[in-house]
């Protein structure tokens, strides 16, 4: 996933978290705000109670004044206006409270006051003429308990904003002597009422209490509420149509409640309102800026900011961590790539290292199979071949898997013969099926086109894998290989391949493991079945690359059918005919290996640093009679390349000092060479992916992998050798081995086969016989000498050696006789030795005498060998130098070098008079008797 996507997803999650927080906080805030508003409303109720109590109290005081005056009137002693005012002047406590007595009948609304006007100390008159306080009528309630309150107005006596509580009184009209009605006003500064409301500021810092009448005019005016009328104020600063306006006035003048509005600054504020009890015309308003009462209901920016910063911090932190991990992962990926490269290198090395000895094993085994006549040996050899091939298959699987994994596996389409492919497949599976006692059934459509275009090798691998699996997982029954086709297009057919077995089947739950690399189904149960678990995975990969896939039908315990379809281009529509019949015939006619051609005039050069490989190579082609020159290094090969004309050159890739590619380049750069057009085939154990391209691009014409497939080797030669040098295969009878002389078989005391078995080969057996014969005289003398000297211990040791060596050459009876005397010797049974040792030595002597003709055979063979010796003759100077080097090496105790020099001398033909010395040197080296060597060489010098 791209970084930007990861960041975008993170930011989206952040946004969701923030959205949730906002929603949650807003919900909580809304609840909290609602609670705060409720609390504010409760405060309003308290304020209303205080104001109401105050107003009732003040009205009550006014009423007391009035009652006193009225009682006087009722008692028949009415007060005059002056007397009434005088009474009030005495009754009132606070100097700030005025008493006004106004006569309603006076249209000028004049009266008298308890206080003089501030402007004139003599003037106690008061006039409400210019103050719109009463309207046209004095609408004042006369009922007890009713608060008769004026609006806030300017006291005409002192210019102070005041309110007045009113009641009617009856006073004596001095001019008429009658009672007349007057209005008694208890006038108090508004500030005294405001003072009652100050304490609320302790609870709410910025609360402002206002009192308005039903028209919105203020009695008490909060600082923030502009205008002289609250309703006008509302209208001025709030976008309100008539409906909103009317609802607002209705709400405020009806009941307890709270509303939001904008103040003159455009800020949201909350107005809690409540009517004053028993004063229907007055309403208390509690104003507070919304921010003072409620938290921001939109979002708590601090919280949001901190959370955002936190989340961003987390994102950055995670991003850094992620980047750090990515960096480490990148480093790990680089390391993994390096490891993968190392793996490839390892596989390459492994390929080389395993295939090289495998070449020797299988090659030599092939020799055994060709040359041996003994059934037992052939059986062993066949097992080696089977195991070797299995091992090769495993190696090939791993290499293929490696190629597929590295994306270096390519499909190379070429024309191929379908019958040929079938042959290879059926030959492979037939052998294996027979070994397990399984019946191989073939069902091949006879109309399948003969030649098609496709990657024969990969198709063959796919089918081989399926067939191998079928054989592996089928204990009894049959394997049915079916090949059919249907027309696909004008030039294509769809091959229908299926393999049905009667094997163990696959459980449905194991189906998914079938094509997974390194997965082996029911591994515990099938642990004895060889395999890497790569076969089906590779097959599926190949088919996928070819646009197909494997279908599997299986019933657990009953068997499976693996099938696939593959579109192939048809090159030759000739039907293949009845393949089953052809195959049956071929099986019947199957016989031992026979060379496919002979080319006695052809000469090839094989360059490989491994002599064993060269030996195998030579022997594989021995019957083709091709002349083979070998070289064990690049330089040596180049010398030969310059000297002789070759028809084909096989050049090993991995060689010390100068590898195959370097050697080839040097060869190709040789001017005027006879081999300018000679095909050079890379002879390699390297089967790792991509190597083919390297070889071809490096100038090789073809390549041959080790272990060498004899068939492919001969096929390559058929391809590259000049046609005029190729002759049909020889009809000569098989050469019989001449290594063991016939008379040996005639010696009764020896079992040649057992001897060969013990020695490992005929050659070693012969060498062992020669040694046996050579040492016989000395051994006999030693035994007799030790016995004569009474040295029982050494006598027994020598008898023990006689036992071992006799058994090694197949003289089993003599060995058993020696063993019995050895035991007697070990037991200190000298008497038995004295008694029977003579007999043992007689039999030993008899056998030695019978073997003595072997000396003649050896000399004859050497003579023959000398005659056929085409080794170069060593010069006198070189020989002297070699002896000198040997002596110096002995002086410096470098016996390895001594051994190497002696061995290298063997590659040259020596003068007759030096052969004895060479043999003496060789024997000394073989016997590790290096102290003798300077003497042997000195003898020469003397």
């Amino acid at each position: 996933m791209k970084k930007s996507k990861v960041i975008a997803i993170n930011l989206m999650i952040m946004a969701l978290i923030l959205f949730f927080i906002i929603k949650y906080v807003n919900t909580k805030m809304s609840e909290s705000n609602a609670n705060a508003v409720e609390a504010f409303k409760k405060m309003t109720i308290s304020a209303e109670q205080i104001v109401t109590n105050y107003l009732f109290d003040e009205q009550h005081l006014c009423d007391i004044w009035a009652n006193y005056i009225n009682r006087s009137a009722d008692a028949g002693t009415p007060m005059t206006a002056e007397e009434a005012i005088s009474f009030i002047r005495k009754a009132k406590i606070s100097p700030s409270i005025y008493g006004h007595l106004i006569f309603p009948e006076d249209t000028l609304k004049n009266g008298i006051s308890t206080h003089h006007a501030l402007k004139d100390p003599e003037d106690y008159s008061v006039s409400y003429r210019n103050i719109d306080l009463f309207g046209n009528t004095f609408d004042i309630g006369k009922e007890d308990g009713v608060v008769n309150l004026t609006r806030a107005y300017t006291n005409p006596q002192n210019g102070v904003q005041s309110i007045a509580f009113m009641n009617y009184v009856k006073v004596l009209d001095e001019t008429t002597g009658d009672l007349k009605e007057a209005i008694l006003m208890r006038v108090e500064p508004v500030s005294s009422l405001e003072d009652k409301l100050v304490f609320f500021n302790g609870e709410y810092d910025r609360v402002e209490i206002s009192l308005i009448n039903k028209d919105g005019d203020y009695l008490v005016h909060g600082k923030s509420l502009k205008n002289s009328n609250f309703f006008e104020y509302f209208k001025s600063y709030n976008q309100a149509d008539s409906t909103v306006y009317n609802n607002m006035t209705q709400e405020i003048t009806s009941d307890l409640g709270a509303m939001k509005m904008l103040n003159s600054k455009g800020e949201e504020c909350i107005i809690s309102h409540i009517p004053l009890k028993s004063l229907n015309a007055w309403y208390l308003l509690a104003y507070i800026p919304a921010r003072e009462l409620v938290a921001n209901t939109v979002v708590d920016w601090l919280l949001l900011g901190m959370v955002t910063l936190g989340l961003l911090g987390l994102l950055v932190f995670n991003y850094i961590i992620l980047m750090t991990y990515n960096l480490k992962l990148s480093e790990a990926a680089v390391a993994a790539n390096q490891a993968n490269e190392a793996k490839s290198h390892f596989l390459s090395t492994m390929s080389h290292d395993i295939r090289t000895p495998m070449n020797a094993i299988l090659g030599l085994n092939e020799m055994v199979l060709r040359d041996s006549h003994e059934e037992e040996i052939l059986a062993y050899s066949e097992s080696i071949r089977t195991a070797g091939k299995t091992l090769l298959e495993i190696i090939n699987d791993i290499l293929d898997f490696s190629k597929i994994e590295a994306g270096k596996m390519d499909i190379h389409n070429a024309d191929y013969n379908f019958v040929s492919m079938l042959n290879d497949l059926v030959n492979m599976v037939q052998t294996r099926a027979e070994e397990k006692g399984l019946l191989l059934k073939l069902d091949v459509d006879r109309n399948i086109p003969m030649v098609m275009n496709g990657d024969e090798i990969r198709i063959k691998q796919v089918i081989t894998n399926i067939l191998s699996n079928a054989v592996k997982y089928t204990k009894e029954g049959s394997i049915t290989f079916k090949a059919g086709f249907k027309e696909e297009g004008p030039e294509t057919v769809r091959l229908l391949i299926s393999v049905t077995d009667t094997g163990i089947g696959i459980k449905p739950e194991d189906m998914k493991k079938l094509f997974m690399a390194f997965e082996r189904i029911e591994e515990l149960k099938n642990r004895n079945i060889e395999g890497t678990g790569l076969g089906m995975s590779i097959a599926q990969s190949f088919l996928n690359m070819m646009g197909s896939h494997i279908e599997v039908e299986s019933e657990y315990g009953k068997g499976s059918t693996f099938s696939f379809e593959l579109v192939q281009v048809v090159k030759d529509r000739t039907p293949i005919g009845d393949y089953e019949e052809t195959f049956r015939n071929s099986v019947l006619e199957r016989k031992k290996y026979k060379e496919s051609f002979t080319a006695p005039e052809a000469r090839i050069l094989a360059v490989d640093d491994s002599e064993v490989n060269l030996f195998v190579f030579e022997n594989l082609l021995k019957r083709t009679k091709v002349q083979i020159d070998t070289a064990t290094s690049g330089d040596e090969g180049i010398v030969l390349y310059k000297q002789r004309k070759y028809d084909v050159i096989f050049l090993d890739h991995m060689m010390p000092d100068k590898d195959g590619i370097e050697t080839l380049m040097e060869m190709r750069e040789t001017p005027g060479t006879l081999n300018a057009r000679t095909p050079v085939i890379c002879f390699t154990a390297n089967a790792i992916s991509g190597m083919r391209e390297i070889y071809i691009s490096s100038g090789f014409d073809d390549y041959l992998t080790k272990p060498v497939d004899p068939g492919r080797l001969e096929a390559l030669l058929l391809k590259y050798l000049p046609k005029d040098k190729i002759a049909p295969a020889s009809e000569e009878k098989e050469e019989k081995s001449q290594l063991i002389p016939e008379f040996i078989y005639g010696i009764e005391a020896i079992d040649v086969n057992t001897g060969c078995k013990y020695c490992g080969s005929d050659k070693v057996y012969m060498s062992t016989l020669e040694k046996y014969l050579e040492n016989a005289k000395k051994n006999r003398e030693d035994i007799e000498g030790y016995l004569a000297a009474g040295d029982l211990k050494n006598t027994t040791v020598k008898i023990h050696a006689l036992k071992s060596s006799s058994r090694l050459i197949g003289a089993l009876k003599l060995g058993d006789f020696a063993e019995r005397l050895e035991k007697a010797g070990d037991a200190g049974d000298k008497a038995t030795l004295d008694k029977e040792l003579g007999e043992l030595l007689d039999q030993y002597g008899k056998l030695v005498r019978e073997l003595e003709p072997l000396q003649f055979y050896k000399k004859a063979a050497e003579a023959e060998s000398d005659a056929a010796d085409d080794r170069p003759v060593i010069s006198e100077d070189d020989l002297k130098k070699a002896y000198n080097d040997i002596r110096e090496s002995c002086d410096s105790f470098d016996y390895d070098n001594v051994s190497d020099i002696v061995e290298s001398l063997g590659k040259y033909r020596l003068p007759e008079n030096e052969k004895g010395r060479f043999e003496a040197l060789k024997k000394a080296v073989d016997d590790f008797d290096y102290e003798q060597i300077p003497g042997i060489i000195s003898g020469e010098e003397q």
Partner: protein
């Protein structure tokens, strides 16, 4: 004669303006426009402003602006009932206002003595009040050169012009008398039967006062010797009214003005005038600056204006041959109670509002004319921008007293309504006004 000559305080009309200007310059207050607090900004105080406006929202907005500098200050406007009678007492009470509204006439009224006894001399250079921002015609200076009243709003007299009608009829607002006559002819021809309307009354807000009283004043200023006989109600002085009355009579005769129709359709000189104008069919509506101040709030109350809004502006009537005359009249003054318990902060507030910006803001909200020369804030008054100084004057500059004012208003009303001829009105000068 000017009655204020009888009082202890007399004013020296701006003949000494240049001297005062020099003085003011010598005490150069910071009038860069940006207010710089002169006291500690955390000063707490409670300042009360008393006045006769039931609502003084423009002042309350200044309170809010002042709070930006002095957040702990608390200013409060108090409306006093029967202001003219109660302000004297209020200033003597325990709850005396710190700032109070005054008017030029108060200087002439003995009963208002306590009002000015308590007034602080605001021209005291130590107060650093920017008096230069006030234009010549709005500045009221005592004889001794002191200033104790600061103009807050001014008004003038003229007409509201329905600009859409003029635009619709491809007419330009007239600049002189002949253009005015021409425009009226064209408007009549275009179907506007009475091109000029107003309140048919004798008040200063009535149409005759706005129509040609400034012309009368201008003539008096040009003939200063006429002031004394006019003030003395000398019958012969009535001749000074003739030119103005003749023009009025001519407009009535030509049907440009129709007193009868105005009486029928316009009940009062304030609300009715405005609402009638908003009906949208009156090209020119005569009135005072007070009329203009009421327009803004009444736009929303006029259904016709809401449905067919139009653009309008205030112009002085181009009654002279070379243009109109700007009669500058202070609508409202502020005085400071020198006994204020928060005198420093009170002066600081006065220093704050006595700047072009704040006075302009207040005038804009109230939609009255600012006492400064900056008319840019309210487009309605934009026609006054750069008005020729020689045609701008205050009533005080005429040297006429209030009685002359009333005599002219009565003469104009009677001539326009046909009660008197021009000759009769001129002849009856001194006995025209009826209470």
């Amino acid at each position: 004669m000017l009655r204020f000559s009888r009082f202890k305080r007399s004013i020296l009309i701006t003949a000494t303006a240049s001297l005062m200007l020099f003085t003011a310059c010598a005490q150069k207050p910071d009038n860069s426009g940006e207010f710089k607090p002169g006291l500690k900004t955390d000063t707490a105080c409670s300042i009360k402003v008393a006045g006769n406006y039931s609502n003084f929202e423009s002042l309350e907005s200044e309170f809010e602006r002042f709070y930006e500098y002095y957040p702990n200050a608390s200013l409060n406007y108090v409306y006093l009932d029967d202001y003219n009678n109660t302000i004297s007492s209020a200033l003597m009470s325990d709850e005396a206002p710190d700032i109070y509204v005054t008017a030029s006439w108060m200087l002439e009224d003995d009963k208002m003595g306590p009002v000015f006894e308590n007034a602080e001399i605001l021209s005291d250079p130590s107060l650093k009040i920017d008096l230069d921002c006030v234009r010549k015609g709005a500045k009221l200076t005592l004889e001794n050169g002191d200033i104790n009243m600061l103009p807050i709003f001014t008004r003038s007299y003229g007409m509201l012009v329905n600009m859409d009608i003029f635009e619709k009829n491809n007419l330009k607002v007239p600049n002189n008398y002949s253009e005015l006559v021409d425009v009226c002819d064209k408007l009549k021809a275009a179907g506007y039967e009475t091109p000029i309307m107003g309140a048919n009354g004798t008040t200063v807000a009535g149409m005759y006062y706005a129509f040609d009283f400034p012309l009368f004043c201008y003539d008096v200023i040009k003939n200063p010797e006429s002031a004394a006989p006019l003030n003395a109600m000398d019958k012969s002085a009535g001749e000074m009214m003739r030119p103005a009355l003749l023009k009025l009579k001519d407009f009535v005769d030509k049907g440009y003005l129709n007193p009868g129709r105005c009486s029928t359709e316009i009940e009062d000189d304030y609300n009715a005038v405005i609402m009638r104008f908003f009906e949208g069919d009156v090209p020119m509506m005569l009135g005072s600056g007070d009329m203009v101040s009421g327009t803004l709030k009444r736009e929303s109350k006029s259904e016709k204006f809401q449905s067919n809004p139009f653009k309008y502006k205030f112009y002085v009537v181009p009654i002279g041959d070379d243009g109109g005359y700007f009669l500058d009249a202070v609508n409202l003054f502020f005085s400071v109670n020198k006994n204020s318990s928060n005198l420093d902060m009170t002066n600081e507030f006065i220093r704050f509002i006595m700047r072009e910006k704040e006075l302009g803001n207040m005038a804009q909200i109230k939609r009255l004319i600012t006492p400064t020369n900056d008319f840019s804030l309210d487009e309605v008054y934009s026609s006054l921008e750069g008005f020729p100084e020689d045609k701008s004057f205050s009533y005080q500059e005429t040297g006429l007293n209030d009685a002359v004012n009333k005599e002219f208003r009565a003469a104009a009303y009677k001539v326009a309504n046909g009660t008197l001829t021009v000759d009769e009105a001129v002849a009856q000068y001194g006995s025209l006004w009826e209470d």
